[in-house]
């Protein structure tokens, strides 16, 4: 990916596309917490330089195989619907991003986080902490075993409920590619009233936050399977890319 661009400074740097029209506006009045926390000044365009096209290539040394199984780290099994969540981390040119750290966190099956400020009157599960990590394989694939998180109420508006979701944190290979997002489940009746899901202005982009049920990932007599691919910023479209050069495949 990211073919080199000769520049006056003598540096051949990858260049990443801008994510125009994809991400939610920082100020989204329906989401009340954004009102005092979103900048009022317009963002200042920053030309991508060395700091932006590089990024931390870390994680392998901080992740064990057990970190990808959120159901297997405690004395007993967590309560809830056991699921497999898998997919590929790609750039927008369709190239896999191998060896990148994926971090997730989520509520338990009753819709409660193992966090001191979560006061939702639903039970904690001593066998579930809701935290997972893994590295993508050579094909950009991640895979977690977990339980389906529950919906939960919050105080944004009267009778506000978050649709079931899993938080995802991605690094890619460059500072420009860093992304934190949420994965949702198909057919959730709570989408229409959720200001966070609906903060994404483009309906087609919003749909890309929803995983797909997949019978091929589902394991008989054991767990339902969901597929969800994550697409990070790739090479800028105007950049000429020499045939056969796929810099995105090295690590």
């Amino acid at each position: 990916m990211t073919a080199p661009v000769p520049a006056a400074g003598g540096l051949n740097l990858p260049r990443y596309e801008r994510a125009e029209g994809v991400h939610p506006p920082l100020e989204s009045p329906q989401y009340r917490s954004s009102l005092l926390r979103s900048p009022k000044w317009p963002l200042v365009p920053l030309a991508q330089g060395l700091t932006e096209v590089t990024g931390p290539l870390l994680g392998a040394e901080r992740v064990t195989a057990a970190d990808a199984d959120l159901t297997g780290r405690h004395a007993g099994e967590p309560i809830g619907e056991r699921i497999i969540v898998t997919g590929r981390v790609l750039d927008s040119g369709g190239r896999p991003i191998a060896g990148t750290l994926v971090e997730i966190w989520q509520a338990n099956s009753a819709g409660r986080y193992a966090h001191r400020v979560d006061d939702h009157p639903a039970p904690l599960d001593p066998n579930f902490d809701g935290v997972g990590r893994c590295m993508t394989d050579s094909d950009g694939r991640y895979r977690f075993i977990t339980i389906k998180p529950g919906a939960y109420p919050w105080k944004n508006h009267l009778n506000a409920w978050r649709p079931a979701h899993i938080h995802f944190s991605l690094f890619g290979r460059a500072f420009t590619q860093r992304l934190v997002t949420q994965m949702y489940f198909p057919g959730d009746p709570l989408f229409a009233q959720d200001p966070i899901f609906n903060s994404v202005p483009d309906p087609a982009a919003r749909e890309r936050l929803i995983a797909r049920f997949d019978l091929a990932v589902t394991q008989p007599d054991w767990a339902l399977g969901y597929q969800w691919d994550i697409v990070l910023r790739g090479p800028a479209a105007t950049v000429f890319e020499p045939a056969g050069e796929h810099r995105g495949e090295h690590r």
Binding site: E20, P24, L46, L58, E103, W105
Partner: protein
């Protein structure tokens, strides 16, 4: 519009269960030669501390190198992590212990002053916001820095330069991040 990118969503109020690392703030050990400390508060538009934010930093090593295959100059110290991550505490404070980055060649020519790239995540932020930390004792380098030069208003520009406490230790810097309000920090579109 771009290709089929995955949209951003907020980290929400419970990021503390998933994202902090025990060693996150320590890019280097406190007793490493040349270690500096950058401390600051994340504040909202009412001046209240943001107590559920995460601050991440990414930077070159002291010689201006990156141990990364897309740095065409090669080199870089793979032992230097370059990446810091710290959740804010009950006063909205974060702290990063690291080494001073070196200056960098700018792709358009010229030289970039030593800086750290910063991502801020929090409940209420539907996407990260990105800023930079520059150093107050690099006046000549800062004056020649292309990103700083792109900000016409000196008051706005000053939000990107860390402070030292008068009479304080030389390696201690303060960098507050104001998400909104009168002295709102400059945030970049990268």
């Amino acid at each position: 519009m771009s290709g089929p990118l995955t949209p951003s969503q907020t980290v929400g109020p419970f990021l503390a269960i998933g994202l902090p690392w025990p060693d996150g703030p320590w890019v280097v050990d406190e007793d490493a030669a040349g270690a500096i400390t950058i401390t600051g508060q994340v504040l909202d538009g009412a001046g209240e501390p943001v107590t559920d934010a995460l601050v991440e930093t990414w930077q070159a090593g002291p010689d201006g190198s990156f141990a990364h295959p897309d740095d065409p100059r090669g080199g870089g110290d793979a032992q230097f992590r370059g990446f810091g991550r710290c959740p804010t505490d009950a006063q909205g404070r974060y702290q990063i212990i690291t080494l001073r980055p070196g200056p960098l060649p700018d792709p358009a020519g010229g030289t970039q002053a030593p800086h750290l790239d910063v991502s801020v995540f929090a409940r209420g932020l539907l996407d990260r916001v990105v800023t930079r930390i520059y150093f107050p004792d690099e006046e000549a380098a800062n004056a020649a820095d292309p990103a700083l030069a792109s900000i016409a208003d000196p008051g706005r520009r000053a939000t990107l330069v860390a402070a030292v406490r008068p009479g304080g230790p030389p390696g201690e810097f303060r960098f507050d991040i104001r998400l909104q309000g009168g002295r709102e920090t400059v945030f970049f579109d990268v």
